[in-house]
Subunit: 370 residues, 2 copies
């Protein structure tokens, strides 16, 4: 390999693909970035075996070739060369020579033959959606995925799409998040469970809110191309492998509380300080008429906040994990939220007052200790 390129372009491409490298792996090649010089391009690829990110940059290629560079070292170094013109020269001993101004770096690399091949998506079905909408439903559900390995499918979001709507669902057994947005076009209906890490990296690249993005799905793989960057991910199954979340949502509620979101969130933030210091992370709501008392207690003290609400239904006394409840509220944009309860032992449903069909959150109550 012998190629010339601009430091700034190389640096940007490296920063993009490096997010797919693996940091905790027994296979060191997954910590690397594959550079492939061919025709008028250098193609950079990184993968952790599940997620793959690929980006091409323009280069003056004198001699084609490919090699895997150590990801962290290469990215840190290249970031400091963003103003320079760079020459990459590979020798026979897998040493890459990086020349810039009149200085140079040699780095020991690995052969590209060991690097896993990236799934090619060819005869895929697809749907199209506004970038902002895809980013929105990812960001507003991903925090509810399971983080342990007991049920691997719960470590992803279920993306379910019909002719009109894309729905993202995440749940971990204690809470559930559902977000919906309209799609623009599609070739067929689809459902696929996408690992949270892959969705998180995709979301970060969706930086053109008004642009439309095409999401391609082929058997157990999903792919998007955004700003010249190709992202492919292996998936965890389809809706048949997921929990049938629709049956969890009841038709009627015994209490429906409407409350100013920021007031409740501020009260919970103060309560959480106490709840986290020698407490059990819980918060209790005591709903009596049009007042909801937010109570947290720990060995350090006790906080009581009174919030004015409107309540269509029964009075109630119920406790929750305070962090789970705050996570949901933080993902709601509207000024008021509705909290829907069916007594002390059933989950609370949280929906925004505006666009209430777009978001639904559920949090299971916990046993009251005070």
């Amino acid at each position: 390999m012998k190629a010339y390129c601009e430091g700034m372009e190389l640096s940007n491409a490296v920063m993009t693909v490096i997010k797919a490298t693996s940091t905790k792996t027994t296979n060191p090649i997954l910590e690397g970035i594959k550079l492939k010089a061919e025709d008028e391009y250098i193609t950079l690829t990184a993968t952790d075996g599940e997620l793959a990110i690929e980006k091409k940059i323009v280069a003056d290629v004198k001699l084609a070739g490919e090699i895997v560079v150590p990801g962290k070292l290469f990215s840190e170094f290249v970031r400091k060369l963003s103003t320079e013109q760079i020459q990459l020269i590979l020798d026979e001993k897998n040493q890459l020579r990086i020349k810039y101004t009149d200085s140079e770096l040699f780095i020991q690399c690995q052969s590209a033959s060991e690097f896993p091949s990236i799934k090619q998506i060819e005869n895929a079905q697809f749907f199209e959606i506004k970038q902002a909408d895809l980013k929105d439903i990812i960001d507003r559900t991903i925090f509810s995925v399971a983080t342990d390995d007991t049920r691997p499918v719960l470590k992803g979001c279920l993306l379910e799409q019909d002719k009109n709507t894309l729905t993202s669902v995440a749940l971990d057994g204690f809470r559930l998040a559902i977000a919906k947005k309209s799609i623009k076009e599609c070739s067929a209906e689809s459902s696929i469970i996408v690992p949270a890490r892959s969705l998180s990296e995709m979301s970060k690249l969706l930086n053109e809110p008004d642009e439309t993005i095409r999401v391609l799905i082929e058997r157990n793989y999903m792919m998007i191309v955004v700003g010249g960057t190709k992202i492919v991910t292996r998936c965890l199954g389809t809706k048949e492998d997921f929990i049938n979340y629709k049956q969890i949502i009841p038709a009627n509620f015994a209490s429906t509380v409407t409350v100013a979101k920021s007031q409740l969130l501020n009260a919970l933030e103060r309560a959480s300080i106490l709840s986290h210091v020698g407490g059990d992370n819980s918060v209790k709501y005591v709903i009596t008429g049009n007042v909801m008392q937010v109570v947290a207690k720990s060995e350090a003290g006790m906080v009581t906040e009174n919030i004015t609400i409107s309540n269509a239904g029964e009075d109630l006394n119920i406790a929750f994990n305070i962090s789970f409840f705050m996570d949901c509220l933080r993902n709601i944009a509207s000024d008021y939220v509705m909290l829907k309860f069916n007594g002390q032992v059933n989950p609370c449903f949280i929906v925004p007052n505006e666009n209430s069909e777009e978001y639904t959150y559920l949090v299971s109550p916990i046993r009251q200790v005070y």
Copy 2:
């Protein structure tokens, strides 16, 4: 105690004094903040036994009293009340009740009788200096203090002051930093070794560059009052307890290299990436005529950068701890620096080209491994 105050004022005062609380202590009262309501003020005090910070805020005191609140909990809570009017009420069981809007927090507190008394400085000698100048000499030397406990006096900066000049000196056996600035006025000459942590907190409060500050010294204590905040620190001794640093500086040098600071720093930053990955944190300078080659090597590869210099003196081949060298360069503002050498085994002196009498850094060489 019963007092009313503004949340914003209380919050700001808590954020200021909390920096003196101890976070790793066997004495829990040092994790607290003492509140004392008296006359028209609440006085907040925190100390770790060495450093003490005290700040008064205006309050409507209905009933005088004092108590020690848990520092972290109180500060986090009060920060979220900055827009409220706050009422503080102490009961007989050392419980502090904090009322805001129609909500309230109870926290369990400790009796103020256990709280250490803060040294009162009365018949002190003093000197006066521009805030910017005091901050400058602290910030440009403090990074060189020793971090281990082998020689406790080296964990502070020696502040030595005569009729005209204040000098700050820090050294850890591998490197030395000296910074000087003119003073405005003084009552006598002084020298005192101030713990690095105390100086660091003082530096952060010196936010009025053009104002003059009075530094008070009484036996083994130093005090400043800045923006209504009183900071008192116990000290580690005087110049008699410190190392006689003046004898380290030779009159003549075998090589005097002048180099563009940012060019050398950029080269070192790139080299350090390699030097930190499986390397030994070293960098080698090969000085031949008017070229200085900066070389770093590790199992990951090798970097060679060529920098044009002017050299009055001998060629040289010498190695350093790369982080120590970068620390010094980062603390120099001028565009060019002079590196002064006396062969391969003696320390390198680094001085700026401009205001060269104000700053001197020294770094000891290390054994060359390549």
